[in-house]
């Protein structure tokens, strides 16, 4: 499948990564290279093969419903870019 400028713009939006005008051509080209590689998959016959999301056939272990965490807000917020009154600050959220 070929990838075009419009695809890159959509992906940049989905992934929230700004791509500047001067980089868009190079990004389109290198993503095209990668997609050319992965397109080799299309040749594989996978009829009736179940997709495999995990390497081992293990099942989820469940955790007992017991509180094991204590308040570490001070330590966690010491490394935060912006906080006030215990809240993380971000540019205004408009719904």
């Amino acid at each position: 499948m070929t990838i075009e400028r419009a695809d890159i713009e959509k992906l940049a939006e989905l992934a929230r990564i700004r791509i500047t005008e001067e980089n868009i051509a190079a990004t389109t080209r290198s993503l095209g290279n990668v997609l050319q590689l992965v397109d080799q998959l299309q040749a594989a016959d996978t009829t009736g093969i179940a997709p495999m999301a995990h390497p081992l056939d293990a099942v989820q272990r469940l955790r007992p419903d017991v509180v094991s965490e204590s308040d570490q807000r001070e330590a966690f917020q010491a490394i935060a870019p912006a906080t006030e009154n215990g809240l993380y600050l971000v540019p205004k959220v408009i719904e």
């Binding site: 094991s68 807000r73 215990g86 205004k92 959220v93």
Partner: protein, 483 residues
């Protein structure tokens, strides 16, 4: 032109687990911001989720309650989108393999008819945090205490045709989850939130109209209002030749208006895929059967039992039996006083009126079920009259103590000593000889009406404490003697 409304609901139910779905943080409501947000909840680098067993048990209980197939193998997926209240940049949820498959909920409508609403599925997922929009120098504040709280999202089929059905369905779900004890049902704290999908079509049309989704309604009343508003808007748009846009809408309960929240132009592409940090959850038959055998009584069964066991009317059984807290209250009060009818009357009458007046639910009642039962006992043993009971209730409500304490303090004991009452009757008759003469000369048919006067005088003389039944009896006897 005649229009038909089509409604489907997506209901988020916060599960009453002690900890979050993927971390050991407490889920208690009302803690200071971010004090219940662990490294996992904050999506710190390298942290990993481990699923909470109790969340699964609760979800399965719900599935069993709606007669649904339980997903023996359920899979968590990542739903990718950026939002500051979503620390990982994806929500861990279920899509292709949810824990609860198709089921159904039966609702009863005001005209007494019944309707079945199909459930498409219910899945487990994590709640998001909260964005606080007070002004922090033009910024928003993010509190992640709620992030990771376990939810089941219940998705109905578009089986409802008006607001009444939608509200009845919502109330029934509330009743089911609170009866199961898997949710505290506290709507004002957001424990249950409703997204309503609404579309309209011409009567008789097969094809569904374009739907809108009104999000995050957290009261039955708002739901009813929001549906009415949206149905009217859609019909107006179409009748004016316009088209309905598929969009998310936000209802403002203060202004009674709604607005479009996000245009679907920037169509979301959530890029779901199985979460590689979590393995498939396999539920064995033994677990399902163990949960089935210990399932608490469900609203429908309780409704039926209330009619049979307590002789309640269908209506009363509905009012008292549909809500789990209400049902427990009723049964606890009945147990104390041994009189279901009186308990029912007091709960549905005086107590409900007081609760409604202060916008409280039965769960917040200042008068406990035991106290109400004790009060009813005092009516039954003639210690107090019905009228006095209202005063007693008032005293208990305002915290003066148990019914007996209030009776004592307020001196509300009823006089049932027949000698004392005879003396009172004699005094009143003596003091009102003119009225006695009138009574004597009156027609038989007029006499019963005249008795009220004497009763009033006697009760007044007793400062309201004479047993009214005894007063009546003795008064009649005396008057008859005089004829």
């Amino acid at each position: 032109m005649s229009w038909e409304t089509v409604i489907g609901l997506e209901v988020h139910v916060q599960l009453a687990t002690k900890t979050k779905i993927f971390s050991g943080s407490s889920t208690a409501f009302g803690a200071a911001p971010n004090t219940q947000a662990s490294a996992v909840d904050l999506a710190m680098p390298g942290t990993l989720p481990v699923a909470n067993e109790q969340a699964f048990r609760y979800a399965i209980m719900f599935g069993l309650a709606i007669d649904a197939e339980i997903g023996k193998t359920s899979v968590f997926e990542r739903k990718n989108y950026f939002y500051p209240d979503l620390p990982k940049g994806y929500q861990t949820t279920q899509l292709a393999k949810p824990i609860v498959g198709p089921g159904h909920v039966d609702i009863q409508l005001k005209d007494g008819s019944h309707k079945r609403v199909r459930i498409h599925h219910a899945h487990l997922e994590e709640d998001a945090g909260k964005s606080l929009h007070e002004d922090f120098h033009g910024m928003s504040g993010i509190d992640l205490n709620r992030a990771g709280t376990p939810l089941i999202e219940i998705v109905s089929e578009p089986d409802m045709r008006n607001a009444e059905e939608a509200v009845a369905f919502a109330k029934k779900l509330h009743s089911i989850v609170t009866s199961l004890g898997i949710c505290d049902g506290n709507m004002s704290q957001g424990s249950m939130r409703f997204d309503v999908n609404i579309s309209v079509r011409k009567k008789g049309d097969e094809k569904l109209g374009t739907r809108t989704e009104t999000k995050n309604l957290n009261s039955f009343k708002f739901m009813e209002e929001a549906i009415a508003l949206e149905v009217e808007r859609q019909i107006d748009v179409i009748e004016d030749g316009g088209k309905i846009l598929q969009e998310t809408r936000l209802y403002n309960a203060d202004t009674k208006t709604a607005r479009s929240m996000r245009s679907k132009e920037e169509a979301n592409d959530y890029r779901y895929f199985p979460c590689p940090d979590l393995l498939p959850v396999v539920i064995d038959d033994a677990t399902i059967e163990q949960l089935r055998s210990t399932l608490p009584e469900l609203p429908d069964a309780r409704h039926k039992r209330f009619v049979e066991q307590y002789g309640l009317s269908d209506y009363d059984a509905g009012v008292l039996g549909d809500d789990a807290t209400m049902a427990h209250y009723f049964e606890a009060a009945t147990k104390v006083c041994g009189d279901a009818k009186l308990a029912a009357n007091w709960i549905m009458g005086e107590l409900s009126a007081r609760l409604n007046g202060e916008d409280k639910t039965i769960g917040d009642s200042p008068v406990s079920a035991v106290q109400l039962g004790q009060m009813i006992l005092r009516i039954k043993d003639n210690t107090i009259s019905n009228k006095m009971a209202k005063e007693v209730l008032q005293g208990v409500w305002t915290g003066e103590g148990d019914p007996d304490t209030v009776i004592e303090k307020r001196g509300l004991k009823q006089v049932s000593d027949s000698g004392a009452i005879e003396a009172l009757v004699a005094d009143v008759l003596a003091a009102n000889s003119a009225q006695v003469d009138n009574y004597r000369s009156a027609d038989d048919s007029k006499r019963p009406k005249m008795i009220g006067f004497f009763v009033g005088q006697i009760m007044k003389a007793s400062k309201g404490q004479a047993n009214p039944q005894q007063v009546n009896e003795i008064l009649l006897k005396k008057l008859n003697e005089l004829i």
